[in-house]
Symmetry: C2
Subunit: 141 residues, 2 copies
DNA sequence: ATCGCTGTTGAAAAAACTTTTCATTAAAGG
DNA sequence: CCTTTAATGAAAAGTTTTTTCAACAGCGAT
């Protein structure tokens, strides 16, 4: 039983073909996938999968933090597998490839400064970086 | 002529009642507003305003960076006036009140570290903080 | 293995959200 | 004031997401 299956099971959820197919699609992908794209990829493994189930599965996986949304200034429609210990995504503006990174230490100084400056108590944050991946840098050079 | 009107004008756009109404709504609000909410607020000033125009206006204002989307882990449907020089928003989880802050300096160290670690070239970022505003902290205490 | 309970599923439909189309209106410069 | 043309509102189309519900399939007990 894989780690995510373990996680589902201990949350009292069943390991189904649909869920395996969605996780498979997200595991294969190296860029964020929209629900529609997840469906297309996942149907290769589980033909009768429906879009509704993709939505439900993505919501479930998000709640369990196995999957995360990718955010862009113009919307937030992509989903991404979370890498354990890495809370933030870095997405290539050319090809969409995404990697994750951690950097809590660096952010804490900023948060503390903002707390003092605003009087807010900061509980959570959302950080995402955009740039050009090594692969796409080569293509240009 | 206000600053945002100046900005619109120099982009070759007209200053219309609809645009004034949308800007008015966003100026009054201290929390991010959805397009629907913008419509409701703005209609107080410009009765015949339609939702379509709200969408068009928000897109225009976003392009000119006069307005920005608010992002949450579960979606990105709110719009927020941008404060000049402040690129990031801090949103109260209780009442939705938002303030903006800057912190480029703090983030640059992180970005540089990530660039070295991943090989990506980082061009842009999205950072948003969530917490409890001073007002809502009082309500509890 | 089989059974039964109940969480899950897929399809259809509904709801919500966003964009397109187009005739009409109204800014802004002359 | 006119004229030009960007902008508007309403309706319709398109897209995305959620709800409903009968049928299905995990999985624990037998």
């Amino acid at each position: 039983m894989t780690e995510w299956e373990q996680r589902l099971a201990s949350a009292g959820c069943r390991i189904t073909a649909s869920r395996r197919a969605v996780m498979h699609a997200l595991t294969q992908a190296d860029a964020p996938l929209s629900p529609q794209e997840v469906l297309e990829q996942a149907q290769a493994v589980h033909r009768q999968l429906g879009l509704v189930t993709v939505y439900r599965t993505l919501n479930l996986l998000s709640e369990l933090h196995l999957v995360r949304r990718a955010h862009r200034e113009d919307g937030c429609h992509g989903y991404l597998l979370t890498s354990p210990g890495h809370r933030h995504a870095l997405i290539c503006l050319v090809c969409g490839r995404a990697v994750e990174f951690s950097g809590e230490e660096d952010i804490n100084a900023l948060i503390e400064r903002v707390e003092v400056g605003t009087g807010y108590r900061v509980d959570d944050h959302l950080l995402q970086l955009f740039g050009i991946c090594p692969h796409c840098q080569e293509d240009k050079g």
